[in-house]
Symmetry: C2
Subunit: 200 residues, 2 copies
DNA sequence: CGCCCCTTTGATATTAATCAAGAACTGTGG
DNA sequence: CCACAGTTCTTGATTAATATCAAAGGGGCG
């Protein structure tokens, strides 16, 4: 799905990773989010007809398409369902704010550490990771495009994190060896993910 | 309204400017958005019970408080109203993405130029500005905290924009002298604001 | 086996942060 | 109307972070 499209359906990611991004005039790319199974990356298209960015998969993936029309009827007939979906888009926005914080006010190291923590918590909540380890499909270039860094600099930060023993990263398999230290480095506080139902 | 609060009402800004932000452990601040009359800065609190950031006014301001309970009933009874409010929060997210793009992949100059264009279009749409001029309450420090720059650097960029004749800025009154050039500099494309109803 | 993409490393350049200090502005009370 | 205090703005000098350029290894896949 591309910028300027006017989709008539949403896609639910069942397997694999996807991301949202925009290409800039000078060939640069900004990635806005990484998505994992259970996410509906383009849920916003339900109420914003023109796409202001693009979506693509980052791995082999399985997706389910849900046409807008029945979805709109469903949310109208069952406000509770609508509220849950609305809430999803709000959490989406909260994650954007967190990434903004990283790009604006955190160091490259903190930013990357934060991303690794965030993805783990999201995956763990979906039952897709445990023991502080998971598969991380994005390339170093992808990570740079997400956090506003060059691929070279991402590479150097990763080596530093490895040298310090905080993480092990090989073949896109990430193992967080020192969660306490890594989350401290990134100033990671999962409140913004709003995962606990009781807390809203 | 502060981080960790659990508000029971939303506030509609009637007069003045407000902003949303978070303070970081080391005293740094990240501003997420500037708000103008007509905005409901904390609409998300309707479905996310815990605030993951703070809201404050930047000028003398008038606000109307709308309790959550009747608002929730309203959106349940009239799905059309709910859709409109939901849509507002989606545009909010689109603006976050645009700011991310600025911080990640645009130069400081481009980022600031983009912000000035964005605020003008928003104000103009509300009938609060015309002729490419408006009152801009944020200090240079505020602008820096919003775009991830130091106040000193913001000052230098502003001087450059002034020296080039692109803008006139005095006493928080901004006049954009060369809209075409400024919007080119910032790579500004208002699609993301989703202002035209026909376009969704 | 070979190719392409990704990773890694080094050298250099650029952007923007930090530190520091003085000037201009704002609001306040006398 | 003026003096004062606290911000905010401005400028210069220096430093730190990160980008860019370039080139050499690795690894997976057809």
């Amino acid at each position: 799905m591309r910028e300027k499209d006017r989709p008539s359906q949403c896609c639910l990611l069942l397997e694999g990773w996807a991301c949202r991004y925009r290409m800039l005039g000078d060939g640069k790319r900004q990635i806005f989010s990484f998505h994992i199974p259970g996410d509906i990356p383009d849920l916003q298209s339900l109420h914003l007809k023109v796409m202001d960015h693009s979506v693509c998969t980052m791995t082999a993936a399985t997706v389910a398409f849900i046409p807008h029309e029945p979805l709109r009827k469903l949310t109208a007939a069952f406000p509770g369902v609508g509220a849950i979906l609305w809430r999803e888009t709000l959490v989406d926005g909260a994650i954007f704010r967190e990434w903004m914080t990283g790009m604006g006010r955190r160091s490259a190291t903190g930013s990357i550490a934060h991303l690794f923590c965030e993805m783990y918590v999201k995956l763990e909540a979906m039952g897709l990771a445990r023991d502080h380890a998971y598969k991380l499909p994005p390339t170093q270039q992808d990570i740079g495009d997400a956090l506003g860094l060059s691929n070279v600099h991402v590479n150097r930060v990763l080596r530093e994190l490895r040298d310090n023993g905080l993480i092990t990263l090989q073949n896109h398999k990430l193992q967080i060896n020192d969660w306490a230290e890594l989350s401290k480095l990134g100033g990671f506080d999962p409140t913004y993910l709003h995962l606990e139902k009781r807390d809203g």
